[in-house]
Symmetry: C2
Subunit: 179 residues, 2 copies
């Protein structure tokens, strides 16, 4: 199963016009509520992310935050920093090729992250679960979560959760028997 767990603004952006994500933390979170992140992470066994997301994580200057194997999609990156070579693998190809390769390594429950990567998988109808956390701010522009593609994709709503008295998270599953 291919899963998305991501936060967007009320107008559907994952980064603002300057590529910043500070607004993700605009709601006070004194007890560091993880808003379901650790529970979600426990349901996946590998992560596929795009180069931009990878470089954003590196830019945080924190310890590498993932315990599961991470596959970074890039046609331009040449190498992974040495200290991450056991944790991160560079890959490229179509979503289907990448999935075949990762499935062949025994990973089936996959966290798909990053706008371009998610859009690529959605355009091939390869996303099964969407968990979207909506931050109640209109950014007025930025990098959209969803891109354009040809076919309509119907989902089933599974649950709504509300965090910090302000942030709504919805879980959807792809309805495969319909368009």
């Amino acid at each position: 199963m291919n899963k998305v767990f991501i936060a967007t603004s009320l107008d559907g952006y994952i980064a603002d016009k300057e590529g910043q994500i500070d607004w993700l933390h605009s709601i006070p979170n004194p007890e560091n509520d993880d808003m379901g992140y650790n529970k979600f992470i426990s349901t996946v066994d590998a992560l596929i992310m795009g180069r931009t997301t990878f470089e954003t994580v590196l830019s945080f200057g924190i310890d590498w935050p993932y315990e599961i194997p991470v596959f970074v999609l890039s046609t331009t990156l040449k190498a992974i920093p040495e200290e991450l070579q056991e944790k991160v693998e560079l890959t490229k190809g179509s979503p289907k090729e990448i999935l075949e390769m990762i499935h062949s390594k025994g990973f089936d429950e996959l966290y798909i992250d990053g706008g371009t990567t998610i859009q690529g998988f959605l355009s091939q109808d390869l996303i099964d679960q969407l968990i979207i956390t909506t931050i109640p701010v209109l950014l007025g522009g930025g990098s959209p979560l969803f891109g354009t593609f040809d076919q309509r994709l119907s989902f089933q709503h599974v649950r709504s959760s509300r965090y910090l008295d302000c942030i709504v998270q919805n879980e959807y599953l792809r309805k495969k028997n319909e368009s």
Copy 2:
């Protein structure tokens, strides 16, 4: 107070690439649940809509559905059909000018409808309440609810409601003391 009550696809469109809204009715609704519409309508005393929304309503070929006065924003329409002249008034101008004119007629609780009109009001920070009903389908393109504008606008989440086991409606109020 200026209020929005509108349905969007999961990817934020109010009409699909062909301008169609059939997907709004893709979820079976055997008992004609109004999903809060009549309750909402009881909170407003006039409606401001754009020309496209007006023409869409006319195209339904049904009886005029609004009991409250409707103001249609258009720079191109010359006249309102005769049978609607007591119910509909053509107007033009900036959002602020239009609000002044409508307030002077004694209407203060206003339903703002139509993508272009909503975007015009939002760009001037003139929307106080957003009630957004999310249909669980990705359209992959179409007319977006939200447009681009300069300043960030923060909202307070008021409630989530779930209809027909599938459709989530969220209500937000503008937080005027913050950006």
